[in-house]
Subunit: 352 residues, 4 copies
């Protein structure tokens, strides 16, 4: 009695990760996988890792009618920002559960779409209905949710790194600098000059250092936690890895706090969260996305420079899993009333 | 009613992979994990990926008595060649199932141990009893086996690349050159000058090019298949990856054969083998260990240069999984009468 | 009184390397650098490494007249195979020295162009006049040469690895298998699906394993040395590095030979060659392109498996330098009567 | 009439880079290269890249007398912090020019050695005499200097990224966070668990996030520029590259400033500095150490997030060259009255 699932934009990296995870999800059956470019091809034509799986399925062109006719229960949309807006609305209004991995429903403030994404959001009412799909902050709201806005990868890492500090009012919320380091898969599956291997490998390169738009999500969620405006400057850097994002959330303490106290704060904040692991005091000492790759874990830690009253919260995730497909499944599990880790008991590799 | 399992040498890479796989194996419970260096430490002290798992277990010093007292059913030994020989004998004779991941029981000919490993094998009778744990060649013998010699990683790749060609008598068995490319994890978890990151990264470096001892296994197994001596020259090269081994088995055809015919030969040879996937005719065209990493798959393919009558069989594996821990579990599954893929339904990542 | 130089196809990787080397060449002044795509842009717009250099020069569209009008003495052509054929002919016939880095003049046999490159060569007479620009084999012919066919990178490595063995008649020339491992820059500067960083990094992937066309050059040159036909099967593999090619030339000995004897054979063969360094008996034991990157060196070595009479010759080069731009400058130096290493005293880095 | 040079600690990475650069320095002749571990071995035994160079030289054990007897003019010391202190003092007092690449003479305040390095500095008078060897800030003082304290790599990057902003009083000097990303060579040539390739590759890992001691140098130099105390929090992260350090110096503006204005500020500050290249407005947009690797360049840039008044100064260097050996030679050139770029006209590679 599995849920019937459609994956939109199934040939990209996020789509591929959804297919990888759902292939072994005991309550899901993928019945539609759309791709404009690869319509008609078998899944493994693109996702070489899935050779031998999804034997009965091929990529299909996108069609609302076809999906509705397939009696789909859940739609995971990995379509680009703006592209799927109409369709996700239709599916939602037709009673399907929609998990949208684009930014289309993440921000509550319609104005923010103009500022950060350059378009006027056509359905402000849906923004109110959508639940921001970060289970660590919205576990209760997600239960029974029908429209889930799955968070951005940098936003996920930034929020998880800083949430406990903000919640406890420990930091100056006017001076928060999240320096993020990300692997190349964050740029998606489309080749560009900058993603060409000889140019991308060994890179240590700022991108969008004038402020990345995932800051909008981080500000929204952290402000909610603080009960007051939090200003977040988010500066990503492309580094040499395929998967992985590490957020180093730098801030200044507003009152004295040592690491022992922070350990209690972090541990307490994430007590109910099965996918957050606190890294403190044992090797490797601090979170490193290398050791969560392929899994839905977020490894979280912190450090204090007492001399200057500076604190840094760290969060390490796999940008395609906890930063995208895994988190989407995690949120949907909650929405569907399934155990939060259904289909997500996937262990990271070491070494990897 | 799970089997009680001991992992010997559990803090190395192969040991870590055994722990990763067995953590989710529904019929196994790891009750002992030995490590001289890390005795007393929690598992995640070494295997950062397993943080949150094995909460009740710590590394323990090796002790035959302690293991016997724990009522262990199966011993997976990842101790170095020669080191565990006595103990595995004891466990075997005490009625436990032994899966030895070292070379100690791989070769049938006691003389070969002198030639390739530099020691006189003390238990030639056990060599006869041991089953070479390559399920693709010994599936029937493995059923009920109590002493399993788990193959070397380069040997696994070399054999899987060439077995169908040898079986069909298609190649000149006096001129077989297996050029293997391997990632850095093949060298184990101990830092050396050559494994120091600045020296190892970007390397393309022959090692043991005068002939690697995994050739002994390949010759043994391929000769058995051919019913006549096969000579294998095996030349590994260290390349820049962490996991992965690609064997390019170069040989010359003894009669005309095109790729279409070879496709039938390979497909037929591996028909019963759930972990071998034939890569032919769709992207990426040929096997690449990148797309099996973390899984127990062996991707196998081939190419013919008709002009010269040269054929190359390819096999891509994760050296730590199909080349070590995964294959050991696969073989043990068969020995224990479990479905061959129990605990091994782990999908590789892409990209990764 | 420097030579006036034009670089055709100057925005690609080979073109960039020519510019890097010629920037410090005391006898060369680059006065033209053509690029269709980047015409009008400064050099550092593409070659970020050259920021601060070539301040007076910009990329220009290709034009025969413009080049002739600039009173150019030497043309280095990094245009793709076939594209520059007419122009290089014109320049040659106008009295300029032409160093062509494409395959257009490498093969002596016009038929071979049909077989390997799929076109009928329009100027078979020029094929005779062209000198194959491998100084280690054609040092004397290069003196005063006006039309130089600069060798392919895989061919360079394959030939340097095997030439001494072939010259001495030590190997069975019917069974020669050159397994080459190459970095991603060999594919050029144009992004493709296969060169996309998440797909290319960590790859260990055969390409053109049915026989790579650089085999044609290797057969031509080695046959010349042997005084009899040599058959070369050349199988490249993409591995995870940006620069570097290692050729492992596997063959079987026709008479007994140990490594001591081979050391003499190799040392003697390359006695006059300042850019060939024999690697034997000291760390790292065998050639590794990692330690020649950025330089014009070819590190050459060998290993014998006495048990089987198998020998492997190794050659490690930087595919963009000794495999392309550096070798072109080296050959031109000889043609111009300059010291062979003029402008090429560039040391490789370690670590790198 | 070259200067006679001794390199102390010549078998490490910094020592190797000194040898690489000095091999082609027209005014230097290396007559001593000390190494405890490799005494008696040829240079290329360790520095494989230098095979064929330094034919007359071997590593020698360290000996003050031997060095003085060799009539050495200049000593470059790459010995570890504290180890060489006595010797460099002796050489200095014997009239030799000393360029010390350790931290032994970098800090002016003797107290700082207790705080940051854990030892009492025995020669506070020498701290006053030593010149901090950052030519971009101390060009005039370096002329004729006899005791040069060559800066730390992270300090170099941090200072170069922020100096113009601090000099102009543009930022809040109480809230400066320098997030540095560094390659694996920064850890030196000695293998450790953390530098083992399978553990280090793909890492994105904070180290010493409680405040790295290079902050002491950055605070000293930036405070001098500001004419008031500047507080610098320096947080390095190990990322996956061999060479390279990128400092992202995050700060908040004290008055309005746009990027156009900053371009003038940076360009003006570095007008006389041949090794600083401003990256702004052309690809790749911002500094990336990838494009300076192997060279003495520092690529410098900046970005403003106007919304929040946040500014980031970037500096990209090769940690072993501009961050160590290259800068040491640059400073010595000035001290010796040679053109600043003597021996340093080495171009970075692209791709690399």
């Amino acid at each position: 009695m599995a849920y019937r699932v459609a994956v939109l934009g199934a040939s990209g990296y996020t789509g591929g990760e959804l297919l990888r995870i759902l292939a072994l999800h005991p309550e899901a059956e993928v019945v539609v996988a759309t791709s404009r470019e690869y319509a008609g091809k078998p899944i493994h034509f693109v996702h070489f890792n899935l050779r031998g799986w999804y034997r009965g399925l091929r990529f299909s062109p996108f069609s609302v009618d076809a999906i509705l006719k397939k009696e789909v229960d859940v739609v995971f949309s990995a379509l680009p920002h703006g592209v799927g807006l109409e369709y996700t609305k239709t599916f939602y209004e037709s009673g399907l559960t929609v998990v949208d991995l684009s930014a289309d429903y993440r921000l509550k403030d319609p104005e923010a779409y103009k500022r950060w994404y350059g378009f006027e959001h056509p359905y402000p009412d849906l923004l109110e209905k959508a639940v921001y799909g970060l289970p660590e902050l919205h576990r209760d709201e997600l239960k029974g949710a029908k429209l889930i806005a799955s968070p951005g990868c940098n936003a996920t890492a930034a929020i998880l790194a800083l949430a406990p500090l903000v919640k406890e009012g420990l930091i100056d919320t006017n001076r928060v600098l999240v320096d993020v380091k990300v692997g190349s898969s964050e740029g998606g599956s489309k080749p560009t000059r900058g993603s060409h291997h000889p140019e991308r490998e060994n890179a240590i390169r700022p991108y969008e250092p004038r402020g990345h738009r995932h800051a909008a999500e981080a500000e929204q969620e952290l402000s909610r936690l603080a009960g007051a405006p939090v200003r977040v400057s988010l500066v990503p850097h492309a580094v040499s890895a395929i998967r992985g994002a590490l957020a180093s959330g730098h801030a200044w303490l507003t009152r004295e706090a040592d690491e022992k106290m922070l350990l209690r704060v972090y541990a307490s904040f994430y007590r109910e969260s099965p996918f957050v692991r606190i890294v403190y005091g044992t090797p490797p000492g601090y979170p490193d996305p290398k050791y969560v790759a392929g899994s839905n874990y977020a490894d979280v830690g912190f450090a204090v420079e007492e001399r200057l009253g500076r604190v840094t919260g760290f969060a390490a995730i796999d940008n395609l899993v906890k930063g995208a497909a895994g988190q989407a499944v995690q949120a949907w599990n909650l929405a569907a009333g399934l155990p939060e880790d259904t289909g997500l008991r996937i262990l990271p590799l070491k070494p990897a």
